[in-house]
Amino acid sequence: MKKMKMTKTAKNNLITYIMVFLAYIAVQILLATGNISSLMKGLLVPLCIYVMLAVSLNLTVGILGELSLGHAGFMCVGAFSSAFFSKCMDGAMPDGVRFLLALLIGAAAAGFFGILIGIPVLRLKGDYLAIVTLAFGEIIKNLVNVLYIGKDKNGFHFSMKDSISLHLEEEGQVIVNGAQGITGTPHDATFTIGIILIFISLIIILNLINSRDGRAIMSIRDNRIAAESIGINITKYKLMAFSISASIAGAAGVLYAHNLSTLTALPKNFGYNMSIMILVFVVLGGIGNIRGSIIAAIILTLLPELLRGLSDYRMLIYAIVLIAMMLFNWSPKAVAWKERLKERYFPKRLRKEKEVK
């Protein structure tokens, strides 16, 4: 019995990997034959970014069982730290090396913030934890918006007021310009890099879930007091999950920063709206269901683009579709109805499942 269950998880994970791989191959074929629209081509990297964000938040929400509304803040940290690095080092080293270093810096910075924020935050519970993560996300966004860093021959200058108070020399260059952010980040992100990063994220998360550490994390989710009583170090495992989740979000931020030539911390892209959007991916895809997150992130990112034909009604329809999908996926009545349908059309599989149980 036990062996069968193991193979089932392994099989499940394999399906996820294969799915991503097949998607990659399919897109590559389309790209090679030129059968792909500009819109789709432009969306490839953002899709990878959102998939990574959804998967990483699922680690916090689904596996660790804590609601975080500040995930975009980690993405913001990753994006800005890496863009800053890339902007400073552009031309000083080969592009590939620079991007790799930027990636590591972005992920490390976000992971560091994850630990920094996690230590106080993870003591809280439920909705209070959610609101504090939201608060941290907003603080990060707000601070990035008043951050001014310039460089001239005397080295780096730093200000929290405006670019004038940097007192740069004539030839000095403002790198991080407050609300105007960082412009002219090199365009390094490609679909292949995005897919590789998704694979790495999946390997990290899926292996974590199926490891001893992962089971410890899930035991905290299921019953914190019981977990504590059998000697599980709550803080350690919570922080572990939280910071891994943060650094994957940071890596997604690196991709984001190197995909657009302009990087600004707006409420739209790094505010609580974005954090909530990522949470929508996770919940719609199924809490704790990694493959579901991937699919939901893809659907919900494509949906507004597909609805462009509706012009003025686009976002309205999007909202309605979102509500409808939530009701369909989550309401107990719809769930029971689907169960009945399944009984009618797939009786064999159902019986098999029951036997397994």
Binding site: M160, I287, D312, W330, P332
Partner: protein, 294 residues
């Protein structure tokens, strides 16, 4: 002198947060859900009054009454269609996400009906500002009305919850839905009533928000909604006096932070204070501490 002036401004802003937070905390306390669409119901209330008073030229008091009716109906409809089916879903997050969907929906419907142009709201408050210390300190009529309205709402809600039968039913539902049902309480009806009251409060809050800050767009409710949510958590979410205190404190912190630390970092300051308060007192200022059991 300027400090007192800042303080007064803080109270004015805080009173608006407080009255929104009262609605928020009410719904949270009973239904245990973060109603992200609450801010947008406020916006609907604002537009209802705007249409009735400024476009149709009817008296403000009628406008407020109709707005309350509209928002109440809207709140109950939202609850019935979008929240109720998910009440027994396997995760409480499902209804949170639906609330976000409803929020988008309301914003976009308002955008289609009223357009994106800013509307200037005519204040429904006819009281002239109170001038103290030779006109150095000014308390606007809106502030006075908002604070009084906030206190009245707070007292009424407290009395309603503690003294009336329906209020007791709400308390019972918030404690334990299953047990309440067994005691013969109509759980669905009670929750619907909670949403009705919360939305009626949102209408009042919308009128006062727009009177104090007379600019109305489909996105007017979003940010005050979030701030009021923070205020409610600050005061201890679920606690009615907590919402009032949380709202006013939040307003004061925001204004003083802007005045003495940095006007660019006002939000960071507010959120930092929130975090500190929650770390010291994890359930907010007046929140109950719930013992966790296995």
């Amino acid at each position: 002198m300027s400090f007192i002036s800042y303080l007064i401004n803080g109270v004015s802003l805080g009173s608006v947060y407080a009255i929104i937070a009262l609605g928020y905390t009410m719904v949270y306390g009973i239904a245990k859900m973060l109603n992200f669409a609450h801010g947008d119901v406020i916006m609907v209330g604002g537009f209802a009054v705007f249409t009735i008073v400024s476009t149709l030229g009817l008296p403000p008091i009628l406008g407020i009454l109709i707005a309350v009716v509209i928002c109440t109906a809207l709140g109950m409809a939202i609850e019935r269609v979008a929240y109720k089916p998910l009440r027994n879903a396997s995760s409480p997050l499902a209804v949170l996400i639906t609330a976000i969907g409803v929020s988008y929906l309301l914003q976009n419907v308002a955008l289609l009906i009223f357009g994106a142009n800013t509307k200037s709201f005519t204040s429904v408050v006819a009281i002239s500002p109170l001038k103290l210390a030779d006109g150095q300190l000014i308390i606007s009529g809106e502030t006075i009305v908002t604070i009084i309205a906030g206190i009245i709402v707070m007292i009424c809600l407290t009395l309603f919850v503690n003294k009336s039968k329906a209020g007791q039913a709400m308390l019972a539902v918030s404690e334990d839905k299953g047990a309440a049902q067994l005691m013969g309480i109509n759980v669905n009806g009670t929750i619907a009533l909670t949403f009705a009251i919360g939305s009626a409060l949102a209408a009042v809050a919308g009128v006062l928000l727009c009177s104090a800050y007379p600019s109305l767009t489909p996105y007017t409710g979003a940010m005050p909604g979030i701030k009021a949510f923070v205020a409610a958590v600050f005061g201890g979410i679920g606690s009615i006096p907590g919402a009032m205190i949380g709202g006013i404190l939040l307003g004061i912190i925001e204004i003083l932070g802007k005045a003495y630390i940095s006007s660019q970092m006002a939000d960071a300051i507010v959120f930092a204070v929130l975090i500190i308060v929650l770390l010291v007192k994890p359930t907010g200022i007046l929140g109950k501490n719930i013992q966790e059991k296995v």
